[in-house]
Every structure is written in structure tokens, then in C-alpha cells.
Amino acid sequence: MAYSDKVVDHYNNPRNVGSFAKDTPGVGTGLVGAPECGDVMKLQIKVNLDTGVIEDAKFKTFGCGSAIASSSLATEWLKGKTVDEAAKIKNTDIVNELKLPPVKIHCSVLAEDAIKAALADYREKSGSADAPASSK
């Protein structure tokens, strides 16, 4: 199967590979998997707690080239976006950018799921952190 140039580029030079410590304030972690192929993808965001802007994003994906490219692209797009803007990233945007063939669309879905999971994790954590410190 032929990959598009953009997939090959992200595959050979993945952006933002790595991870943040889960417990760091402002970090949201999403870990998702594709039951069809057994791929696993971890995507993390680091939000500036004062501005609500995603300052950094990292990923680690164990899977096919399209899954790696999808998550690599996702981290590039996430940086500089607010949490609300980030929530608007759709898998179809990734499909269009990377020109993924139909059999690889599930990779982009995985990346969207990972973004959503990371945002949800961030919200959950920051929600509790912002709550009145009655217990402290």
C-alpha cells in the first residue's frame, strides 16, 4: 500500500515523541487502542493553567505508519490551541491532511479519540484542582 508523502514524512520524522509526567499540573493524558489491530496510542497535552492554551503536546504510538502519522500530526495541531479549540479537531481533518485511504481511517479516529481522552483527563484534573480547597 502506498502512503502519502505526508504520512511518510511524519513516520520518518515523528514530531513530539515522548511523554510528560502524568501528575504534572496542566497535563492531560489520553491512552486509547484500536481493537481491530491492537495498536496503542498515548497522547498528552500540557496546558498553561493561566491562559488555558496548550503549550506542548507529546505522543507515543505503537502501531502502523498511519497511526503514528495521525498522532504526530495531532500533536502539531494541538500546540497553541485553547482546550476548547482543540476539542474541535475531527478525524476527517486528519484524513484530509494525510490523505489516508479508507482502510486507514480508523487510525485517524484513534487519534481523535486520544485527543478527546487527553482533554477529558485534563478537564477532570483541573476541575478538581480549581475546586474550592475546603479539604486542604
Partner: protein
Amino acid sequence: MKGRGLDHFEVFGLPRRLGIDTAELQRKFYELSRRGHPDFHQGASPERQAEILEASARLNAAYRALRDPLARIEYLVRLEEGRDTREGATVKPKAPPELLEEMFEIQEALQEAKSAGQTGGLEAGAKETLATQRDRLRERYEQEEARLRGRLSQAWDSAGPADRAGALTAFKESLAVRAYLRTVIDDIDEALGGSPEGYVSHRRH
């Protein structure tokens, strides 16, 4: 047009159940194959011959899908899902989060072992650890398959209409667990047998 649009169970005149006597299935397969073999219909019209060829291909596909208990389950899920999709009620299987965590950690450790061993392949100690880990994962894989073939298949066959959706979800979750285990087992196998490469296996395309 007899036979067109039949599902694999219907080709054999079977109900949509997983408890299939494979010896009986084989016997039926041979019988139907003989009867519909294209060689016996050389004198038929081209239309009839095309039909016979199609029926023969359908029979082979049906037999392949049903003879193995696990392929049978995968087929059943696809078949049932096709119907669910039309009814707009497909549910994505969710693997247990702790399994995902675990698979991720194994892959991370595998990647570290690979990059630590760069030139001469994996270090001996790492090899041994990975081989042990792989064997344990294989055991779990086999247990998962046994559960699919056994308890879960029986649950489907005895399920009333109200319980079918639940039985189907159980299949999908179990098949997902099996797929995750399969992938790490293959990746470890490849690392043990093959040369170290980037941070990801090229096996998957």
C-alpha cells in the same frame, strides 16, 4: 437465483448458532461440493455455469468461515453487526483500560530493550525476560480463545432475543483483548527473532 444472498450459516442450512458439529459440517461440505462441482456441469448453459461457479465459491467461503470455531465467532459478529448498522446500533468494543495500560507498558519496555541492544540485537538478559513475558502472554491469549470457544459461545447459543446484544458485546470485548495480546506477542516475537529497528515494528502496514 437460488442461494444468492444467503449467509454462511444458511448455505449449510444451519441456524445462527456457534455449536456446530465440525465433522458433520465437513460431511455436508463434501456432499454439497460434489453436487455443485463445476466439472459435472460442463454441458450446462453459460449462465447456469456461472451460477454454479458462484455457488461453489460461496460454499467454499462459507466452509472456511464456519469450520474454525474462532473464525465462526468473528463471522457471526460481522454478520450481526451488519444488521445492527442498518438499525443504527453499533457499539464500539471497549477494552479494559488496565489492559491498554499494560500493553502500552510492554511496548515501551520492548522499545527500550531494542534501543539498548542496538548493534548486536537484544542483550541476553533482555531476551530472556522478553521470552518469559511472551510465554505468559501466550497463555493468556490461549485462555481468551478458550473463553470465546467455550463459555461465550454457549452464552450466545442459549441467549434469548433479549440477551443477544449482551452476548455479542462480550464477544467483541473478548476479541479485542485477543487482538491486543496478539499484537504484543507478535511484536515481542519479532524483536526476539529479528533485527532491532526503529521505535516501531514495520510488520504492520
